[in-house]
Symmetry: D3
Subunit: 315 residues, 6 copies
């Protein structure tokens, strides 16, 4: 049996493969027969699968990293896998889950360290204390959290990657635009989305199952402000600093209809907004363009105001 990734599968392939179970549900056919309906994914794509012999699905469930033997068929012109055998991955399989889910291109711990370096270099002790405290509290989940449910950076460790690229871009722009308070810019970048960890439920694969109750009733902007307020009080942070950083978090989505009841009233908040949106947009655009050839247009991209994108012909 061959070992193939999802993007390589062809109809009539009979393969062994390693996949993550994105969804797993028992269903009943019109005939009354029960079966399992699954979505399998790896870092190259997603495929629907069925287990028709119900007893063969008993050892696995949603979120598992599994080894599967099956055959690829075509159902209504879409590929589907008929599973013969499936079990959880064991150590002797000698495969790492990181190689099977879409992840940030830099190792999480390295990104975290680089972010910590930005923090260490801050000149305001109060800002440094505030940011460090929160970064430490969130360290474990930061290792794998994505930055969104279905938009930009919806990949394992995507949140760290989003923060890091914004920090790097911010540092560059601060070389051109002087007169800014770099501590505020970096603090805003690091803290602006951290409450997404409380807003969304994500597993260690970086896959979001849903928004949390707090996420739905308040949202990450309000949750982030409350957290900064609490940590600042507990650590005796200067009130002006705490207030201004809360304002930056509050205003970073810019428009009321995007969740910000205030526009940025300081230049550092204005810059935070643009660093955020540039990073998200370029990520989404480059991702969409990676799927077409030069001289072609992509399909409409929902997260980019439903635009089609064009890949410039370089010849």
């Amino acid at each position: 049996m061959e070992v193939k990734k999802i993007s390589e599968l062809e109809v009539e392939d009979r393969i062994d493969g390693f996949f993550v179970i994105k969804s797993f549900e028992k269903k009943t056919a019109a005939s009354g027969r029960e079966y399992y309906d699954l979505d399998l994914l790896d870092d190259t794509g997603i495929i629907n699968a069925k287990i028709w012999e119900i007893e063969k699905g008993e050892d696995i469930s949603e979120g598992d990293f599994v080894k599967v033997r099956g055959e690829v068929i075509s159902w209504k012109d879409v590929k589907q896998m008929k599973i013969f055998k499936a079990r959880k991955v064991v150590e002797s399989d000698d495969v790492k889950i990181e190689d099977y889910v879409q992840s940030a291109p830099i190792e999480a711990i390295k990104m975290y360290s680089e972010i910590m370096e930005y923090t260490e270099a801050m000149s305001s002790e109060d800002i440094k204390k505030l940011v460090e405290t929160i970064l430490l509290e969130k360290k474990d989940k930061l290792m794998y959290y994505p930055a969104a449910k279905g938009n930009h950076h919806a990949i394992r460790s995507g949140l760290l990657y989003h923060m890091l690229r914004m920090l790097r871009a911010g540092a560059k722009l601060l070389e051109v635009y002087d007169g800014m308070n770099s501590d505020l810019v970096y603090a805003g970048v690091i803290l602006h989305d951290l409450a997404k960890i409380e807003e969304m439920e994500a597993n260690e694969l970086g896959i979001v199952s849903d928004y949390t109750k707090e996420g739905k009733l308040l949202g990450h902007i309000i949750q982030g402000i409350k957290e900064i307020d609490r940590v600042a009080r507990e650590n005796g942070i200067d009130g002006e600093i705490s207030l201004v950083i809360q304002h930056m978090i509050l205003s970073h989505h810019y428009y009321p209809e995007h969740g910000s009841p205030r526009y940025p009233m300081i230049p550092e908040g204005e810059l935070l907004h643009y660093l955020d949106i540039i990073d998200a947009r370029i990520y989404d655009m480059q991702k969409a363009l990676s799927e077409v050839k030069e001289g072609e247009f992509t399909s409409r991209v929902w997260t980019l105001d439903n635009r089609q994108l064009y890949k410039v012909n370089k010849d």
Copy 2:
């Protein structure tokens, strides 16, 4: 000399009167001569005044409650007062400031007590504790704070009056609409605008000079949520209760462009929004209509979407 209120003044009147100084500024005439330019108010209106002999203005300043002797003249078809003498009110004048500023029609301490009765009657100990704690913290300023800078209930103790009428109306509607959690409705009503005390600077006359720094950078909705969060943590209030009440505060302006990033997701929050807006609108409408006769229209009212209002002819 007659003692008259502002609405009774006629050109050529020479009067003694008691007024509050709303604004007070030294200016220079084209001739180079210095004088004081004042706005005086009482509970019947407002009038501009001048003190041409500069030394006669030395004992008074903005916010003072003063006795004034002067003459009413007409300047560009508008009444104006020329002040001959002015001094702060003294005890022997035997006048009470409450009679000279627009105030809620019920005494502040009585309103506060009635609000406390609603609180005492709550069945959830946690909600009761949360609301009582905050009411006690704010008691002093609540006595005189208005509900707004220039809109509805912009009068002394207007905030208490707004809360009280909403509580009464809420209690009535709960008799018709069962299946609601009355504790949540009352808590939402009492807490929804309390952070206006931190959002605006007001003096003991109930006159707002400006928004505070926190008010401009965050606003009373965010400030209120943070306060509830802090008091709930300090008093061990149940997390679900704290969360849901924060959500009610967050959503009570309903529309993102009015400052609410979430719509109400519970019926009690929906009701809170409508109690708030009904109370504000009826106040503003009845105030505007009090100035016209039956069968007439008011001027356009800015706080009512620039509408003209009509006073129905009852004959």
Copy 3:
């Protein structure tokens, strides 16, 4: 055979049941064979059904109240009924249609009487005359008309129920907000939606099949105004009263994009708008929340601006 309601049906049940035929259509299968496709409903829900032997569907049609024998199967994971026999309900079945369609929780004639009591108690003879005349003209259809095609109070006698709850809520609020003309408030409440009877076609089960030609070309606001104008002329009603009530009807949807070319210009019209929307919103919210457990969110509700609702956890 068991007798079950729709919400109790399980796959493989063989049952007898009483249902209303919501839709009834002859179709042709790919094989060329004709069959009937039906939607059946009772007060607990709705289920699709098929009659495969065409001659067995000949005695029934859309809108009928029928007795059915059949078996519940699963088709694409959705329950469906295969009908063996179906006939119209006869007297000897001893079932009342009211028990099989969703209806207002109060008997129609009692609601109508209570509304008439509000009318009798009016102090203005002209307003009383106007309202009574129209109430009498519409009495028959009012008994069963719903308040909407697919939104709030889309149930048998829903229109009466909507009017009655608004009257009760209005009476309560008038105890808090004095200075209002209660006759106008009650007249506005009673008349505001009465032209829905001409706007929509509904059968005696309270089920709307479509909007009428007049409803589509003019709508119930314009139709209601014309009716008030006509009845007022025919009965010599005072012009000011007729005008003001027409204005209340015209403005009760508040926003131009919701069908009101004028905002309310009198406080009674403002109150009418809020009574209307509170009643509709609380109805829709409580209905949606009745389908989830404490601590859970509903699906997005289209009639509530696509919001999810949350059922507070009371433990």
Copy 4:
């Protein structure tokens, strides 16, 4: 003394002239001295004037057609007239008011006749009857009513002129677009704005002083529909015809925020809307452009979405 029109007046001119008094108000100077402040107009423009000797203003009032003797001065760089004598025009002055107010370029009675000809030529007896009846009812006021308070065709007999140009343009377009019901188009054109006569108070000079109570509370669209409904009932007009014409009136402003709760649902209504807007826009544009030279831009025109217009250079 020279006789001049307003557009010809120069500072230091001493003139006799004939004017209409647009506004007339007694005021008090800072000195306490009373005087009259007037706006005078003729068909060429408007000028502010003062009567400093109060007894010389006693025989005239707002709306009068007067003979005036005075001198033109410059006040803050704006021309103003100092009036020495003023009296109402008498027969021996041998001047016609029509020559002193801006009027439609065609005589009112001729326009009315041409409109009647369109009506006579209709093939549907019901539509003809409906239109004729209303035209006859309104004949007197139609002679002088303007089409608006301050927008397009705000001139004496402007309403007739607007109707007539729309009829002529409609007739032309019906030659290109066949398959339309010309009776409906003409009826819509004639009736669409007729209730402006009830919406606005205008004097016989075609000058609007204000909107009426009915105009403010309902507006000419609703008033027009009610009138058509009443006349149709009284004259036994076919219901379909009455309904469709009411729909045309209801939808002729097209957008809800412009007062139309329905979009046109028939082609004749669609055409009515465009005939209306073309006639208004071209009138406003040509009026604004008449005040500038070729190659120049006008100031921003409020009634044209605040656009500047350009006069093409034809050389």
Copy 5:
């Protein structure tokens, strides 16, 4: 075998017919078997078809005009054609493609000539030269281009038909509205949509396959302006004329969100906009209404702001 058009086909018909292949795609069934999936159209409608024996589809492809033998079946209640034989039309079939695609009701060459006559009659030599040059450059494609991909005049030679009706309507309105520059009006009408030829790919049947790269990145308004600019430079056209016509093209969609960054600033541009929209709207309305009976409503029409239309009952 009968010869039928698509609108006449019934299930179980076995027919010969002439159709245009709108789409043509090889697919694979679940069984692994390959087949062709086609959409066939003629001037009466569209039908899906299958060629199950793959070798029988080898001589035809998308866009071909073909003779087909097949049988009509019903699949999920929708008609479908099973094709037995298909080949390209040959001369001996003696059929003209014009009779099998929806086309403008006037012959293309006649429309082109009439448009040229309007051009010849212009009094400005510069405008005439500009318009003629572009009309000649585009003549070949103008013969068959539609005016849109899926909206108004999406038929063979629809662009010419749209231009011609606008010219005729414009000429009529110029008889009523004097003071306009007719050369500019006609030039604007002729040039306003001509760059649609570069914006969309259409075949000689007037069927648009897609927008072009230039169409997506710039759009026909910008492309048209550039073309006018180039032709004006090459032909020494007066700068004022070129500028003003470019402005007319730029502003003819009126609203920024419809693609016009400027509102019309000259009356001729204003008129151009309304001529364009009237022609498009009446076309779409009459087309939609042609499918229903008197007294009925159409379905919602997407290109008409999702309105339903009503066909007036003339009896």
Copy 6:
């Protein structure tokens, strides 16, 4: 006599000074006496002035750089200058105009050279040729043109300064975001606003008097596209490059209501938009904040969506 700049002037100062005449108009006082009314500016501010002896204003006019002797008075609490003598600056005054108008902080020719260096370093010969050609054509006016009439960078050489800062910021961001075509980014930055030179009339002091006719009828986006199209044709530039750069110019304002009928469809266009807006916003924010102290808010800034800005308190 002292020599002072405008920001240093005090009432009663008698000074000599060097100023630019921003506006210059002959007026007539109520008395009939003629005088000159001027606005004078230097790099520190603006002051109104009068020349009461008309013959003393004969040698100067709008736009002149002048030496003035006068006295500062107070008129309605605003400073004003009474001019005794005024003449054009002569060589022997030994003052440079650059020191008396607000200018970019870098010398124009140096900025131009740095921009040229970015151009020289491009790898695509076609893009380089296109950009160089246009830069050379515009060189003279680029030296002094501001970037706007009244918004960001409305200073002498402001356009060059805006381009240069965007180039520098773009170069920085390209270090973080790889996979972008830097030639396109730089070309977009250099060309995006160059047609402002044709859109606005500005004198050599960088002061804009008005928009040009072309600016009003088309605007700098359309003008820029036409220019790129022309230069590309004349220089045989590759069509794909010309098209893509035109698309970048077209979309750089992002929103239709800001003048862009297309959103950016390539990442380089997206980046261009954000480089543009970041540079403008930070400029406007820092300018507004330079006028207040730490801990204070600015007034509302019209060009920043009417926001107040806050200057963080750093102590």
